[in-house]
Subunit: 390 residues, 2 copies
Amino acid sequence: MTEVLVAGVGATDFGEHPDRTGRELFAEARSLALERSTVSDTDLDALYYGNFLGATAEEQNHQAPLMAAGLAGPDLEATRVENACASGGYAVADAVRAIRSGDVDVVLVGGMERMTNLGTAATTATLAHAADAVHEVGAGVTFPGAYGLLADAYLERHDASHEDLAHVAVKNHANAATNPKAQYREEIDVADVLEAPTVADPLGLYDACPITDGAAAAVLVSPEYAAAQDLEPAAAITGSGRGTDALALQDRDDLTRTKAAEAAADDAYEQADIEPADVDLAEVHDCFTIAELLALEALGLYEPGEAASAARNGETTADGDLPVNLSGGLKAKGHPVGATGVSQLVELTKLLDGSHPNADAVPAATTGVAHNAGGTVATASVHVLEEVGA
Amino acid sequence: MTEVLVAGVGATDFGEHPDRTGRELFAEARSLALERSTVSDTDLDALYYGNFLGATAEEQNHQAPLMAAGLAGPDLEATRVENACASGGYAVADAVRAIRSGDVDVVLVGGMERMTNLGTAATTATLAHAADAVHEVGAGVTFPGAYGLLADAYLERHDASHEDLAHVAVKNHANAATNPKAQYREEIDVADVLEAPTVADPLGLYDACPITDGAAAAVLVSPEYAAAQDLEPAAAITGSGRGTDALALQDRDDLTRTKAAEAAADDAYEQADIEPADVDLAEVHDCFTIAELLALEALGLYEPGEAASAARNGETTADGDLPVNLSGGLKAKGHPVGATGVSQLVELTKLLDGSHPNADAVPAATTGVAHNAGGTVATASVHVLEEVGA
């Protein structure tokens, strides 16, 4: 399997950007990634770009050529990928595959979402386009409700409580506090989570990620190109997996497992020739606190039910055995949907190459994993990222 | 470059399907493709799926896992591609690339659009999401208007008239008349086109393609899989090219050329190791009559300005030297946006393997080309399809 190198990464601050268009946000992210990579934009062969709800937020579909505008690659191609909240992760996966195919050597991968201009109610309705319009949304389900059902199922099956979930939120806010790119940099405690207004029982306000504007980008290259150009890659993508499940929860056998992520992880690990035990840190899709537990179990980092006790025992904090979402995660760093999967790659790369403000927590880390999920994990991508030369 | 084989193709009738959901339409297309291919759905590795405006038409994004539902491939992955009206062509291009990467051997590629339920005015507004929301739509441009500007530029530059454009419409209606899948199977004459109400000067009602519901699918496989399973492939994809241009017309140097399609054609021909002179027939993106002329010139099949005289002289009719849009094209077969690029592959495959009702027009054809365009050709894909063993 051809290794794909990460030549550079970049991202905007995540948060509210009411005065900036999507194209402006993405231009900042791509410039930062190109600058770090030292790759000239005249060498770019392709853009793979993730966006979810641009048709609603900016009445703008067909964003790929717009996001490629101004780049000098003479035959630059541009393709948009949309798999709901996993759009960014699938853009990364398609970019990796493009390089593996031999068709291209230098790919800009990115994602962007503008959401805060819609307001909370319209955003929630628009996000629901990622669920089954007939069998879920037609019955009144939105994503807080759907993840509330998943949390109910998990807490009922396992020896776990809302307090365990609260530890996920507390940890991710603590990590975000030292990440200047993060939307919420205020620390919270378990009581804050448990006393917050209920959004969808058992989940409360602090169990949910915010609504966010932002963009992220990375320059991926083939080993041949990197060698010819004498690049100093920041990291290598050694595994890229995808998985799919039924869109609607009613069509799943088991609400306490996320089959799509399990399949994606199996693929990614096999390609990278690693085991879960080799993973030093993880960025996972914690759109709700329960989602982080499901992710860690799908990734094989904990047995079913044990991610809850891991959260309770602090095993996944910055100074725990397996730091998870050192960036702050979707929960506190923010979740600009189409950008999120790419942002995970950005954060992991910086954590591995030591340029992240939270990198001190993982000085010896060589292997990270990124887990991005669409809807209630009807789609998932998993990427294994390794330090170059590790 | 790894050759990719077309094991089977299928499509719904194109037209109005007010009582069928998108998932029902796609289920029909994929079943037909799987049946023809003789591939078991348990062997499917991946779905690449094109759709443009599902967020509006059915309030359904994240359609890829929905369209994969019920397929038995145990680790089936599913990814949606969106590049406006070229979404289907890019789904094909991504499917080809996936097989070339070595990641997968058996890929279902498809596309679907439901449009007629929106009505004409809402559809036109929604289609405009493929143009630049700030610099074009904000100034009042819709697609009929944008293609009217392209027609103006072309007719002014070259020795051509609206009557030349009319020949494109007449030809494509004639071809559709014998294609039972086509939406408009009534023949028209030049006077009908010239006397029709103006939509966007100089283009009239018969210069424009209809609004259409429909789905198309194909099963693509690696040569290794085809050999191991003793398949009888219907055709081979020997070239797959992509190109990008500025999204807004105001940012283009020359409105009489479509740079994105030229780049895509160059790539596809180089991969297939053919010249334009080797092309026996073409399915091109004639969303408006002018678009067919621009496409044929971008494909190098005619010099700039000469596609108009070719239309006038009948060179591209069913019994001409180079039959174009024997299916009826977008103009008369119909244009369910996300399905169109895949439908071109379906039609070309059937024309090459002799199973198309219009195949008698091209008994000796071995090489076809498919040209799919997004917006005013800000994105384009070009595929070269060859008879197996030719």
